[in-house]
């Protein structure tokens, strides 16, 4: 199953060098490429080489590394491309705008009036609604828990660990896969 997933996933194909791309960074577990139709010149994607459709499936160690890479790219965009600002943007699930079933971090250089809009109009919630949401989240985060990241872990070990942790699709009973069953 893992092999088949890799074959049909565009990003796995890019990671495997089967599809040409403008790579700007690569290591054991992470890859960053330029978006050829980016929202701005310098728009990058950072992604894990392992195939994980959504963020909830990415092990913490790999996730930490990916966002550190994204952060370094963000710094580079400021320093090397003289960006006035940067956005780090993740779409998780179809309603959030995800189009490829492989977890991806967008890093976007920004300047004034560049046509990108990541703002929103606030919704009015009553105090009661806010309290309900607060309670639900608080309760749930207790069940979910937040993992501690082992600081010294190297990417190479991370890969191994990720493979061990990766549940194959055949015995997938992952809650999120069901929840976000409509991931593209």
């Amino acid at each position: 199953m893992a092999e088949r997933t890799r074959e049909s996933c565009l990003i796995c194909q890019i990671a495997g060098n089967n599809i040409p791309s403008y790579k700007i960074y690569e290591d054991d577990t992470a890859l960053a490429v330029l978006d050829v139709n980016g929202s701005n010149p310098g728009h990058c994607f950072v992604m894990p080489k392992n195939h994980y459709p959504i963020i909830e499936q990415v092990p913490d160690t790999e996730l930490a590394h990916l966002f550190s890479v994204a952060n370094r790219i963000s710094s580079s965009l400021f320093e090397s491309l003289k960006a006035q600002g940067t956005n780090v943007f993740v779409t998780n699930g179809i309603p959030a705008g995800q189009t490829v079933a492989h977890f991806t971090i967008n890093v976007i250089p920004r300047k004034e009036n560049d046509g990108i809009n990541l703002q929103w109009k606030p919704k009015q919630l009553t105090e009661e609604e806010m309290s309900t949401v607060e309670l639900k989240l608080k309760e749930q985060i207790k069940n979910v828990g937040v993992g501690k990241i082992e600081k010294t872990e190297r990417p190479a070990t991370a890969i191994k660990r990720a493979e061990q942790m990766h549940i194959s699709d055949d015995d997938e009973d992952d809650y999120f896969a069901k929840q976000i069953r409509r991931v593209p």
Binding site: Y22, N37, G38, E56, L81, A96, L118, I149
Partner: protein, 242 residues
Amino acid sequence: MPEQQAQQQLSPEQIKALQEKIKNMSPEELKEFQKKQCIFCQIIAGKVQSRKVYEDDSAIAILDVNPANPGHMLIMPKEHYSIMPQMPDEETGHIFAVAKALSNAALRSLEVQGSNIIVANGVAAGQRAQHFMIHLIPRKENDNLNFQMPQKTIEDAELKKIRKVLADSLGAKAEEPVIVPLPKLNREKKVVDAEFNEKKQQKMPKQIKKSEDKRTGKKTKAKSEDGDGINLDDIAKVLGER
């Protein structure tokens, strides 16, 4: 947004005096000063009320008082950093692991089907608070949120130039990518498409995630194999679809 409360009206003289004061501060004093001025540092210290959903040694998550959607959270380091590039790797890693866990919690408890993670560094990127934070916004269909990320046509020459600049700055080798030719296509595309369309018309029962995966997998495959080979436009099309 709570940060608006932090903005005080100052006279030009006061501003000038303040600027002078800031200029003469040691880095430590400056940090202390920023912290004092920052509404989110006040929230973290418990001096300003908030709806806290998560807290540990280095990170905190509160509900945004002006949410894009119900459950919109702000996840912040307790330490004052203005923008993400100031964050040490260790803290960056931890705070996004927290974001992942909270996204997880939102999916489980708020009847949503997705989430957006947004970080804005700098005013041009839409940053309004002077404290680095991650916006975590739970999403569902038709929730009236509309993030606009237009696709631009970027010339090959410019892409090459940018790639070299970024690769150099990131310390990676700025070589041309290795391109392995794709294996010859077999013409099963039509079958795949037909299967896809047929399945699309059916209502998807909840538990069929597995076949769904296969379906969407095939969809991408069929799409990218369309034509004689894969070129950058194809990737762009799939990658860039928003």
